[in-house]
């Protein structure tokens, strides 16, 4: 037999032996896994399993006690938030972290900040590169707004929008950064089935149209199984499962710890 296994590309993101604790409480214990470019990877597990903390480690909001993160060929012991952002990692938050006093458009535009080339002085005096750039960035932002169907609320202050829309705007802000790796912390929490379907469509479209790699945390197993290419299961800060959705579904440990409790 001479079938050559297609050589899998190196992973975009690889966590190695990450541990994190707050004061005396261990939040994450020795977790390692890898995310391939272009895939949707779901992190699942019961509340308090350490999923959000893990996302916070990946983009530098928390500093792990041990372990290393490899991303796109570079290895970091501690990822700084701005390093993460500059390298194309963005995210959304579990409890929406939008800029509540700003309009939808402005929120999306802030997502563009790393792509802005003109200096603040040029912008303030509207000189040099600034005028053309303002139009260029605006076009990009408008494209995102259109993509997520939020044009009617473009100039509304986000703090006053309904929850579901805010979730969408937050996704928009993240997409505006043209991320390589997008971290979504419970993008569908608190939504009804219809809204979940809509959000799922946006997530899939993001992956397909922009080729973005996505790591997401989600509780709804149905959604997870439908969306993801790869599932990592956490429980009490430890990894108890890692593989394709159908494999994880079979894993007895996972069934016992997590899925088992669902039925």
């Amino acid at each position: 037999m001479n079938t050559t296994q297609p050589l899998s590309p190196p992973p975009l993101l690889q966590l190695e032996h990450i541990s994190l604790s707050f004061k005396a409480v261990k939040a994450i214990t020795n977790i390692s896994f890898a995310v391939q470019p272009g895939e949707i990877c779901a992190l699942i597990g019961p509340n308090g399993a350490g999923k959000s903390s893990l996302l916070n480690v990946i983009n530098g909001v928390y500093r792990p006690d041990e372990g290393a993160i490899s991303y796109n060929g570079e290895t970091f012991n501690i990822m700084q938030t701005h390093h993460a952002a500059e390298r194309g990692i963005t995210r959304t938050f579990q409890n929406i972290a939008l800029f509540k006093g700003m309009s939808v458009l402005d929120n999306v535009l802030t997502g563009r900040n790393l792509h802005v080339r003109s200096s603040w002085l040029e912008q303030v005096f509207n000189l040099g590169r600034a005028p053309q750039e303002a139009v260029r960035q605006r076009k990009k932002a408008e494209a995102i707004i259109e993509f997520l169907h939020i044009q009617p609320w473009r100039n509304n202050v986000v703090g006053n929008l309904p929850y579901g829309l805010q979730k969408r705007v937050e996704l928009g802000r993240a997409l505006a950064a043209e991320p390589k790796l997008l971290l979504l912390d419970e993008p569908m929490a608190g939504m009804n089935t219809e809204e979940k379907q809509e959000m799922s469509r946006f997530i899939l479209a993001t992956q397909r149209e922009f080729g973005t790699t996505i790591v997401l945390i989600e509780h709804d197993i149905g959604v997870v199984m439908a969306l993801s290419d790869h599932v990592v299961v956490l429980d009490y800060g430890k990894k108890i499962g890692d593989g394709k959705p159908e494999e994880v579904r079979q894993n007895p440990q996972v069934i016992a710890a997590y899925l088992g409790t669902q039925h």
């Binding site: 707050f22 959000s52 916070n56 909001v61 938050f93 579990q94 409890n95 972290a97």
Partner: protein, 293 residues
């Protein structure tokens, strides 16, 4: 060397007076998360009320009780008309509201009792006597004793009484406290009332020293660095912070001041507090918060 100790002791005793004002802040901050800038005005208001009653020949104890009642009414009004309307607003908004409050209280104090300076004699001698070559005054010792007993009373209150324990619960987690049926509004009223009491005590001691007058409300500016160093949530921190500020500013004024042209006492505590902040952002005894996102 004895001069050094004299300055040190003088500074520590002055620091106790700062602590007295700072305690009022901590109480309110702990219970309602409000940084109450109006504490200084409350000190002024209570002292002015007390001394005006005294001048209208009320006996000491009656004036004290009446003032306390007035402070309670004030607390009720503040709770009813300000705090309750600003629930769930940002700490900065609440802080600014207390700025407004301090204007109201100062205006009120002056229109009720006039603007002249009143002398206040608590019957405690402020003449010095020497112990081991150090200069002490009865008044300072009395003030320290008062501050000490206040701390003891307040910690008993917080640790032993039902109300006190409920207060700590509120400070830790207001939502959970609400869920277990603690009456938040009543507690706030109590805390502002107690803070009014502490303000009255501070006002009497400061008033006896400075004369009761408008500038009493400025002591608030001395209390702020004390809070930063001690931490916003700890009564013990107030005392320690007060001692640190009192001692270091006096030492700095005497031993560093001459090289800088003197008069550095006004800004020195703030610079000190700032340096402290850079090293210990939550103060010596404060609780550090973990940011959850």
């Amino acid at each position: 060397m004895s001069f050094f100790f004299e300055v040190l002791v003088g500074g520590l005793l002055a620091g106790v007076m700062y602590s007295l004002v700072a305690i009022g802040f901590v109480l309110i901050y702990k219970a309602s998360g409000v940084f109450n800038f109006a504490q200084g005005s409350m000190v002024l208001f209570s002292a002015l009320t007390f001394v005006s009653l005294l001048e209208r020949s009320y006996p000491f104890w009656l004036a004290f009780v009446l003032t306390l009642l007035i402070m309670l009414v004030l607390a009720w009004v503040i709770e009813r008309w300000v705090l309750r309307k600003l629930v769930n607003r940002s700490p900065i908004t609440l802080f600014m509201a207390t700025l407004g409050l301090s204007y109201i209280i100062e205006g009120l104090a002056q229109s009720l009792w006039g603007a002249q300076v009143h002398g206040l004699d608590l019957g405690i001698n402020d003449e010095p006597f020497e112990v081991l070559g150090l200069l002490l005054s009865q008044f300072d010792l009395f003030a320290s004793a008062v501050a000490g007993s206040l701390v003891i009373i307040l910690s008993l209150f917080f640790n032993k009484t039902r109300t006190g324990i409920a207060l700590r619960a509120v400070a830790d987690d207001p939502l959970a406290a609400l869920a277990v049926g603690i009456n938040l509004q009543r507690l706030w009223l109590i805390v502002w009332g107690v803070a009014g009491f502490v303000g009255l005590v501070a006002g009497l001691l400061w008033g006896a020293r400075l004369g009761v007058q408008f500038s009493l409300s400025l002591v608030v500016l001395k209390a702020l660095p004390v809070l930063i160093i001690g931490g916003f949530t700890s009564i013990t921190g107030c005392i320690v912070g007060g001692l640190i500020i009192g001692a270091s500013e006096k030492l700095a004024e005497i031993f560093i001041g001459p090289y800088l042209g003197g008069g550095i006492e006004n800004w020195f505590p703030y610079v000190l507090a700032m340096l402290f902040l850079l090293v210990r952002p939550a103060g010596l005894f404060g609780e550090r918060q973990i940011e959850r996102v």
